[in-house]
């Protein structure tokens, strides 16, 4: 029996879709069977990020409306074996789907795939409820800024209400330089507020943007820091114990500087 993990955040644009695409690809590269579910009905883009836009024929809405079998609606990835995508309908909106319908789909996928990753839309309303309805676990993505963190906190409260456990945190777009000069929160500050387990830190990486535009997930770019971070998170998801490297460049000088600028 596999796991259904919802990837969510509250705030938009923090990297849910990027994380879903890369973690899914990374898990498949590690030999796991994976299906990615785009739950952003009406604003789908996981298919674009995966470079599978041209292959999408059916969507989860067609499965719900019994226009096609679930298996037939799954799109096979072009590059790696064992990776599938269930696209969202672009012409419907989030209220056209019921949480129970999404749960039924996840329940079926769980029996066949090691990992089902559900890419949640932003917000705390119906779209989020649909995305989390069938989830066993959650990955909350945040960037290290106060508004994203407050929204993540809100989402964590809602996930805890429905007893989704564990809830793991990904800090995305982390910039050691900005932390070094005191203008970005560091890991400890974020964890102090959100108080859930950290599963990885993804640095700000310009390769993310080019990979998004090319429809080739970043994890194929071996040397890029973002790719390495996603590979490590995927390994942790499979149960491997890999320490989280300290991305913060903490020389003595910046420590002293920090002490003067941040504490008083």
């Amino acid at each position: 029996m596999g796991k259904v993990i919802v990837v969510t955040s509250g705030k938009g644009g923090v990297g849910k879709t990027t994380s879903t695409a890369n973690l899914g690809t990374a898990l498949a590269l590690l030999g796991k069977s994976v299906v990615l579910v785009d739950a952003d009905v009406g604003l789908r883009n996981l298919d674009i990020v995966m470079g599978l836009e041209s292959r999408v024929v059916y969507t989860s809405m067609d499965v719900i409306e019994k226009q096609c079998e679930l298996n037939k609606a799954l799109v096979r990835d072009r590059r790696v074996d064992g990776l599938m995508l269930l696209a969202a309908s672009q012409k419907n909106n989030k209220d056209d789907m019921q949480p129970e319908q999404m749960k039924a789909i996840c329940d079926k996928l769980r029996t066949t795939y090691d990992f089902t990753l559900v890419d949640s839309p932003a917000g705390i309303e119906r779209g989020f409820r649909n995305a989390s309805a069938g989830a066993d676990e959650a990955i909350v993505v945040t960037t290290p800024d106060v508004s994203a963190i407050r929204d993540a906190d809100r989402i964590i409260g809602l996930l805890q209400n429905v007893e989704i456990e564990p809830i793991n945190l990904v800090i995305n777009r982390f910039s050691p330089q900005l932390v070094g000069n005191g203008s970005m929160m560091d890991q400890a500050d974020v964890l102090d507020i959100l108080n859930i387990d950290l599963i990885g830190v993804v640095p700000e990486d310009s390769a993310v943007i080019t990979s998004t535009n090319r429809g080739i997930p970043l994890v194929y770019e071996d040397g890029s820091p973002g790719a390495q971070a996603y590979m490590r998170i995927a390994r942790r998801l499979t149960g491997q114990r890999i320490p989280i490297p300290d991305l913060e460049q903490k020389g003595l000088f910046s420590n002293i500087l920090n002490w003067f600028t941040k504490k008083r």
Binding site: I124, V146, I149, R150, D151, D153, R154, I156, G157, L158, Q160, D192, I193, N195, K262, K263, R264
Partner: protein
């Protein structure tokens, strides 16, 4: 509980005369079993003892209605065993609230009496909603941008980090909320 206390002998000053022998025995056995602490003696306070907060203002009768309580005597309290996250709200109009966790930005706590946060208070706290103007807000780290006690509102002027020690907010002279280092009740 600090593990380094294991095996130590402690004196407990309950400052309240309301425990009977049975309850004291229970406390004694619990401390023994769970923390390996030996209770050597129990000192019970009496009603004439000074009120928990000597600094409780007495000059605020003007704005008080006749029913508004002036002391926390007889006020019940509620313990919240977890962090209050953004969008969550905990309200206890009957008495005081004790939070075993943080109150995060976007979260809210409202109590008829006092509010005690055994973590970081970042969200909104409103104490003394029952009109008791001696109500206080105490936090291990008081990082809230806004506090309210009764009708008095305090907005912090800066976004300075909390000083790293517990602080207490209460209504001081001229009906403004003052924040001080919290030492003890």
């Amino acid at each position: 509980m600090n593990r380094s206390l294991t095996g130590a002998t402690v004196q407990i000053d309950l400052k309240s005369p309301t425990l009977n022998d049975e309850e004291i025995d229970y406390l004694r056995s619990q401390l023994r079993e769970n923390y390996d602490l030996i209770v050597r003696g129990v000192e019970l306070g009496d009603d004439s003892a000074s009120p928990p907060i000597a600094a409780a203002p007495t000059t605020h009768t003007i704005s008080q209605t006749t029913e508004a309580p002036t002391t926390r005597d007889g006020e019940p309290s509620r313990i919240v065993p977890c962090t209050i996250r953004s969008g969550q709200m905990e309200e206890f109009p009957q008495g005081s609230l004790i939070i075993y966790g943080d109150v995060n930005s976007g979260g809210e706590v409202r109590a008829g009496g006092d509010i005690v946060v055994l973590g970081t208070l970042r969200g909104n706290a409103c104490a003394g909603t029952n009109g008791r103007l001696s109500a206080v807000i105490i936090a291990m780290d008081l990082a809230a941008l806004q506090l309210q006690i009764g009708n008095c509102v305090n907005r912090s002027a800066t976004d300075q980090k909390p000083p790293g020690y517990p602080e207490i907010a209460r209504i001081g002279p001229e009906d403004v909320i003052v924040i001080e280092k919290f030492v003890k009740f």
